[in-house]
């Protein structure tokens, strides 16, 4: 075992990390929180010259319990549903003051798909130069796992329970990216914490644009999804490899790039990892039908976006930059 240096020297080392750590240690996120990871990755790419407006939600709560803050950037939390508007105001102020500081808006799926959607749509329509990042953990986790417009079909939540009459969420996950892209804004994308290089490059790309940009980051929640904390990244990789959460880039509403599926996995591999889908694993006709249904949704995505490109064993078909394969020495991850 390594000998522990003094905490003072660790703190010094922490200050010297060769990356911008916008969200620092000491925050109170659950073990294995996907959102905490995603937020840091976004800021890593964005750098320090930003202002963050953050919606009410887990990210806000676990990072800003007074008097402690985990943020290294200027950061404001106002309300659940007004993040896009607060960010619009900040951006207007930056324009008024002639500053180049970039504005980021952070919100969860509740604050984006549902309650904050109006403000978001307004922001996009007015084309404020704001990068809006939705950390999508597919339910209202902050209040204890209630279904949202983003909760996938069939998933258990406390308000889409499993009983003799209902079997998890009845409705489909809102196709937010299509709605967002209908604003014909410069850039919109999806990303996943399982592909950090891809996420960071998308953040950089988005910040290179003038006007509104949007990134939907799939962010597993061990508590709400019912999976082991160590599996957060693994599960997100499965979400992508099954086709359930396609990784896309859109330019003014047109899909311009997709991340090809590295190794196609059946949706059952994804379902099996999470308690929220446990009822789908039963040996019953209805469970089988739901499993088939989810598989069909995956297949639909794969077909719709062309996620399978060429034979799986052809290494050249993959965009290795975005697939996040490791390299010795880690330079590519810096």
């Amino acid at each position: 075992m390594e000998e522990l240096p003094l905490s003072a020297s660790l703190n010094l080392l922490r200050e010297q990390q060769p990356r911008f750590t916008g969200l620092e240690a000491g925050h109170r996120a659950c073990q294995g929180c996907g959102q905490a990871l995603a937020a840091r990755l976004v800021l890593e790419a964005a750098g320090p010259d930003v202002i963050v407006a953050n919606a009410t939600g887990c990210l806000e709560i676990f990072s800003s319990a007074w008097p402690e803050s985990a943020w290294r950037t200027p950061w404001i939390h106002s309300l659940f549903e007004n993040t896009a508007a607060v960010a619009s105001g900040i951006e207007a102020a930056m324009r008024a003051q002639g500053k180049s500081t970039r504005v980021l808006a952070f919100a969860g799926d509740g604050g984006t798909f549902d309650i904050g959607f109006q403000a978001l749509s307004g922001m996009l329509e007015r084309n404020h130069s704001v990068l809006y990042v939705c950390f999508d953990n597919e339910a209202y986790m902050n209040t204890g796992v209630q279904r949202s417009g983003s909760t996938p079909h069939g998933a258990w939540t406390t308000t889409s329970p499993v009983g003799s009459k209902t079997r998890g969420k009845r409705h489909y996950k809102k196709d937010l990216l299509s709605i967002i892209s209908a604003h014909r804004m410069p850039y919109a994308a999806t990303a996943s914490i399982a592909y950090p290089s891809d996420l960071r490059s998308k953040v950089r790309k988005a910040l290179g644009e003038e006007g509104s940009t949007f990134i939907l980051v799939h962010s597993p929640c061990p508590l709400g999804w019912g999976h082991e904390s160590r599996l957060s990244v693994e599960i997100d990789r499965l979400a992508v490899e099954t086709g359930l959460f396609p990784i896309l880039e859109m330019d003014r509403g047109n899909v311009i790039n997709v991340m090809p599926i590295r190794k196609k996995r059946p949706v059952i591999d994804y379902i099996r990892t999470q308690d929220r889908f446990r009822h789908l694993l039963e040996e019953s006709e209805i469970a089988q039908e739901e499993r088939d249904h989810l598989q069909a949704l995956c297949d639909f995505n794969i077909e719709r976006y062309g996620l399978m490109v060429g034979p799986e064993d052809d290494p050249s078909r993959l965009d290795t930059q975005s697939a996040d394969t490791v390299t010795r020495g880690g330079e590519r991850w810096a």
Binding site: P74, G89, A96
Partner: protein
């Protein structure tokens, strides 16, 4: 220089003189002319500012909050439902101590739907932590708007300038707009201590535990209490520049030793003033104009009512089921337990745009003459306009009887 201007245009010009950097608004009657005026001034280049046409009042409030938090002077305006839609943001802006100024073109709150003037909207957000200043004329609206930026930025508390919808906003009358140099001298450029700045990053909008929440609220309360001094200071400084006062926290006219007082907020004060001039008992009457509803000037009010036998409080809003109008309750509360406190009669009138005529003064003063007048009444209710199903004609009570008598 004196100009004849529509109230909304005058307010827009006053706002522009304060050089806001970000203006955000959503149209709602009767606020619309103000922000139309401002967007016109921006469009013509008279004012250099970002005009953000948001998709709701909720976002209007959020945008100006964000802009001010990021260090830009900001402004918005709204009314009625718009104010209520903003409510959550209003609490938030005040709680975060972010300075901004909003004109409330006061209007009734639906339902039933009414686009006309009363004070229900601003009264409904009285606990949001904003400073609320009420204007009696368009001149006061102009002067108070300019003072509001001064007060807000000095206290770090957002300020609502409450202007009666239509009655002031849509009325053209002579207004003296101060010179731009005077406004610039009065109002230095906006510098926000707690601005969002990557050079000195701060975390704003934290979660505060029960261990500290009370203290946080105490700070907010104390700050708005302390704002009284700043409100007075603003009025004094403004007087030095223009020779005009808007009445600080509370002011009075008529006979300072009159025994019957009438306390009002907003434009009805002018009507009552005109009526007072020709009133038979004008020597007996003291008119009180409450300008600052938040902070509520308890001390100053107690001073202003000294020697009164009766104080009639005219309310333009209602807290149904509370047994009173909102202003009435505040006044009662301020005077409760005071030695030789006057008898208080709380009259609600002028809801939803009901005209408050010159004859109102006489009617109110008459109320004080009967010992039977209840503590609270609807002063201008017309019983014949209520369905008999609900209100049988034969059934009467004191409140209805007395108001009936005074309002043919």
């Amino acid at each position: 220089m004196l100009e004849a201007l529509e109230g909304s245009q005058a307010i827009a010009r006053a706002v522009a003189m304060c050089r806001p950097q970000v203006v955000a608004a959503y149209p709602i009657t009767p606020q619309t002319h103000i922000v139309e005026g401002l967007s016109g001034l921006i469009s013509s280049g008279t004012l250099s500012a970002q005009y953000i046409s948001v998709e709701s009042e909720f976002s209007a409030a959020s945008v100006v909050m964000g802009a001010s938090a990021a260090g830009s002077r900001s402004y918005t305006a709204s009314a009625a439902q718009g104010i209520l839609l903003m409510t959550e943001v209003l609490y938030n802006t005040a709680g975060l101590r972010i300075p901004t100024v909003m004109t409330v073109a006061n209007r009734a709150v639906s339902a039933p739907l009414s686009i006309w003037n009363d004070h229900q909207d601003s009264m409904s957000v009285r606990d949001s932590g904003w400073i609320q200043l009420y204007c009696a004329s368009n001149q006061e609206a102009v002067d108070t708007t300019i003072q509001a930026f001064f007060i807000s930025e000095k206290t770090e508390i957002p300020v609502m300038v409450c202007v009666d919808g239509y009655t002031l906003t849509h009325t053209l009358e002579p207004v003296d707009l101060p010179a731009q140099e005077d406004v610039d001298a009065f109002l230095p450029p906006f510098r926000f201590r707690r601005t969002l700045d990557p050079g000195a990053p701060l975390t704003v909008g934290t979660l505060v535990s029960p261990d500290f929440f009370t203290e946080a609220r105490y700070i907010n309360h104390q700050a708005i209490e302390n704002a009284k001094e700043i409100i007075r200071e603003a009025d004094d400084l403004f007087f030095g520049l223009t020779g005009r006062r808007s009445g600080a926290l509370i002011s009075q006219s008529g006979n300072p030793s009159g025994k019957t007082g009438v306390l009002v907020m907003g434009s009805v004060f002018g009507t009552l003033s005109d009526a007072l001039a020709s009133h038979d008992e004008k020597d007996q009457i003291r008119l009180l104009k409450l300008r600052s509803f938040r902070p509520f000037p308890n001390e100053e009010l107690r001073e202003a009512v000294r020697g009164l036998e009766t104080l009639i409080v005219l309310d333009r809003s209602l807290s149904p089921g509370s047994g009173g109008g909102i202003l009435g309750m505040e006044v009662r509360s301020a005077l409760f337990g005071q030695k030789s406190a006057p008898r208080i009669i709380n009259a609600v009138a002028g809801l939803g745009g009901r005209d408050l005529p010159l004859s109102l003064l006489g009617s109110l003063v008459n109320l004080s003459k009967s010992p039977d007048t209840p503590e609270f009444l609807f002063a201008d209710i017309k019983r014949s306009r209520i369905s008999e199903e609900i209100f049988p004609v034969k059934k009467t009570n004191h409140a209805e009887k007395s108001s009936w008598k005074n309002f043919p």
